[in-house]
Symmetry: C2
DNA sequence: TAGATTGTTAATCGATTAACAATC
DNA sequence: TAGATTGTTAATCGATTAACAATC
């Protein structure tokens, strides 16, 4: 199984490579990729060896070929259907964020426990009542969810998600979700990130 | 210097402890804290030793005392003034997120290059033109910024921030910012997080 | 060819784990 | 006291770094 950190870096390499390709760059070196992920050339080479794609001495890595290999790794030719629960401020921002259609990630439905939101189209995405979740997830075989509800609701809704077959959750609520070990949870903890920035920047002078 | 990971965990401990305190819990054990941060009791004890606050055998850690020590570490009695640049979807969500005033983090001003937004009050925060940034940052001695602009603008605006004395950036733009080594950048990379969730959840059956 | 990259191997470093004595 | 925690130390593990031969 590919380590989490490697997967994260592969995603970043891909983004950088796409930009490089648009700029007409044909080859990249491991040290260039390393810069993009705050890592080392050796680490980059190890990551890319996992893909079964090797570079060439002097030439480095062929941009187009490498993108192909990473795309295969992430299975990007397939559109991934995702649901979003919690159409609050962050939820709406995420709906906009993924709406542009540049990626292979598609939010096919959003949900909110606020019944007045149900049935309305918010940020180009139809909002459904929580009761509809079961059917929509089953019909579309959705395995991944974005959870952007208040902390107090997060665990109970995560339970519902897991119960209905969701196997991966991107969690924006500041709570540690308790889920079965085969369910993957990725936490995006903005307050914690902010605390880090403040800690490492406060008191520093120009 | 305290390692980044320890700082991150301390922030999470604090959140958990505050909830515990409200629930009337007086003591916690290292293994309980470990659960909240996907870590180990030994790691927790090492983290807390950095604070100079030790637990007691059998009793574990005194919740109120521990909160005090972590608060001192993060200097939470002091209100930290922060600015936000980029009042788009994510920017507005963040303004709401930090508006509730539960934390010691306060967004004192927001900025947008869109001149039509300047002067308006958006999500309870006054939006200024980019030209006003210099003065507001200097007058309020702001050291920390949230960057929620499109990727194409991120680097040029980061340059402006650094030039005006900002020493920590919470970056939501999917770009690797180039900043001097004494400026701390924390990246929140939602697309990458989402790719991770999909990778580790797709194909998994119920 | 010379130079700069590559993959590979060995050495180092740091973090985690395990074992244990001390404490309430 | 017995039991469950604590901090401390030594052992282990994994990841990173450094050195090197191979390649275009």
């Amino acid at each position: 199984m590919t380590p989490e950190k490697t997967v994260a870096r592969l995603s970043l390499y891909r983004r950088f490579l796409k930009i490089a390709k648009e700029d007409g760059v044909d080859n990249v070196y491991s040290h260039q990729l390393a810069e993009m992920v705050r890592s080392t050339p050796a680490q980059v080479r190890r990551d890319l060896m996992i893909l079964g794609y090797n570079g060439s001495p002097q030439k480095g890595y062929d941009v187009a070929e490498l993108i192909k290999h990473i795309d295969t790794f992430f299975n990007t030719e397939k559109i991934i259907d995702v649901i979003l629960v919690g159409v609050g401020n962050i939820g709406r921002a995420l709906l906009s964020y993924f709406r542009d259609g540049k990626s292979h990630i598609k939010i096919i439905a959003s949900f909110d426990k606020d019944e007045t939101k149900a049935g309305r189209v918010i940020n180009n995405s139809r909002c459904y009542a929580m009761d509809d979740l079961k059917n929509i997830v089953a019909e579309n075989n959705v395995k991944t969810a974005i959870l952007s509800v208040p902390a107090t609701d997060a665990q109970s809704i995560a339970d519902i998600l897991v119960e209905n077959g969701i196997r991966g959750i991107l969690n924006f609520a500041p709570t540690r979700l308790k889920v079965p070990s085969d369910v993957f949870v990725e936490d995006v903890d903005i307050t914690m990130n902010m605390e880090k920035v403040i800690y490492f920047s406060a008191g520093k002078k120009k």
